[in-house]
């Protein structure tokens, strides 16, 4: 009984987190595609790739093949729905101030905790699980930005990978303390999402090596 309940818990929680992360990253991918004036199918490809890259990288690294994003039709359906919704409902999406960044922050949070959680389920060590969570979180956005030829947000955005690492770390510490996974992943995701949002609003930045220089070459290509 207990074993079954535990197995279900381990099985359904990552799926719910993954589907949520898939949806918001697909929105961010589709919105980036619309912004770059891709055609309908280009937008769908970008939402599919942005949504699945984080989870696919995680699954390839822990040896869970075929990756969930491919084995389970719901991921594909969710990605395509987000893409179509963005294309035909983009006046609605447009009303949000910075939709790509908002969805990106939510996807970062959901994938960071789902990556850490799934890594623990696959018996990786605590440091590895936290880092894998971070990589899962930043993977989708990195591939999305590379495909539209922008420098990945993770490399210059305010408190980006740190937020993912903290969210993933909460899951790992929670599992170590015996906190129920639903609580730990919820707290981790909220902390990551909130930290990223506040950092964006206030322009929080980590120190840069070398002398301070206002005319930074950071965004220059």
């Amino acid at each position: 009984m207990t074993v079954t309940r535990f197995a279900v818990d381990l099985g359904t929680l990552p799926v719910a987190l993954d589907l949520g992360g898939t949806f918001v990253f697909a929105l961010s991918g589709a919105t980036a595609g619309v912004k770059h004036r891709l055609d309908l199918f280009g937008v769908l490809v970008l939402s599919l790739v942005a949504a699945s890259s984080g989870g696919v990288i995680r699954d390839l690294l822990i040896g869970a093949v075929p990756p969930a994003a491919l084995a389970d039709w719901r991921y594909i359906a969710v990605s395509l729905f987000a893409g179509v919704f963005t294309v035909y409902g983009h006046s609605l999406v447009d009303r949000l101030h910075h939709p790509v960044q908002l969805f990106d922050a939510a996807g970062l949070a959901l994938f960071a905790v789902s990556g850490a959680h799934k890594a623990l389920v696959f018996h990786l060590g605590p440091i590895q699980a936290a880092l894998l969570g971070m990589l899962t979180g930043i993977g989708g956005g990195m591939v999305r930005d590379l495909l539209v030829a922008e420098v990945p947000a993770v490399l210059h955005a305010e408190v980006y990978a740190v937020a993912a690492l903290i969210g993933a770390g909460v899951v790992v510490i929670g599992s170590w303390l015996g906190v129920p996974s639903a609580v730990a992943t919820g707290v981790g995701a909220l902390l990551c999402f909130g930290l990223r949002l506040v950092a964006m609003r206030r322009g929080w930045r980590l120190p840069v090596a070398g002398e301070p220089d206002a005319s930074s070459g950071l965004h220059r290509r």
Copy 2:
């Protein structure tokens, strides 16, 4: 008897399609390398990477490791031959009007059907097989374009990923109807190749979200 014949059919058909796709994508990679004035070895690396990325992505995703492109020396030989041929016979390749795009379209078609076919052999579902075929088809060209710092053709070219999806879809539907694989893959590949060629010639494009705007920012970096 029947089982053996079936196994042989499943085994040899993807290899033939893969080797064909490998050859034409290697030509497209080498031609892009020559165009960017890379040295001899850079051209060979680009043909190797362009030729094998699609199949390697497919094999990693379905868990067929080591990937065929690595386990089988013929893939490597075919890629290197295409690279050397392009460098020393490029006046011949040059006579074709848009050689990169032509080889790219052929590679797209061959990898799309081979990806869908191999995914079915590995017992993936029909939707997954069609999407995996599409990803196999667009993977090689995406990596090639990323490496020479161009926005991947898949994101802005005329009817690109759609053509791959249709080719892969024909294979999936054919398998469902019990059509012999050789026929279904042949029809799928021809349909994808023809559709892409006609779309290029006529400049067919899918609708773009938002108001129509002649001075599109699509190719802008």
Copy 3:
């Protein structure tokens, strides 16, 4: 007895080579990050990604999951140490003339031989092992350059992939001749490193297809 000794030899040598390659590629990634004025955490992410990509690509391709870079905490520790050292000790790193290129050459050499060695341990054929060594060597630098939006060095630098292939080839030939792996990998790594350094100093280049043209479009984007 002999079997155990052999297994230990096969097991520890790649780890030592991998950790060395990880350290120098992490230095090259961190130095590139400092050069592009990334913040502290961006630098750490870049050193982690640059350091682990080569080995991760190798391990995914031969089916050794989870990859060593993830399963073993020492890789992560070495990468992060290199990143922190670069940020806080970068005046020291700066004194070297071309630190990114120097560390890159060392990482190329160490990963090329470790990739070839591990491929042989996983029973890949000689041609595959040599090419996998080359790919392992060039993978980390390619991902690093893509992330900071530069054309990968492998595609235009002097004698880059050739050097990796020669280093990997020495390991394969050495294994075929029965030379102890430590000797073969040492000779291979030194040959690759030396060849790359001399080629950089003297500006050795391989022939470029087409007519010679001084105003080469090679570095143009």
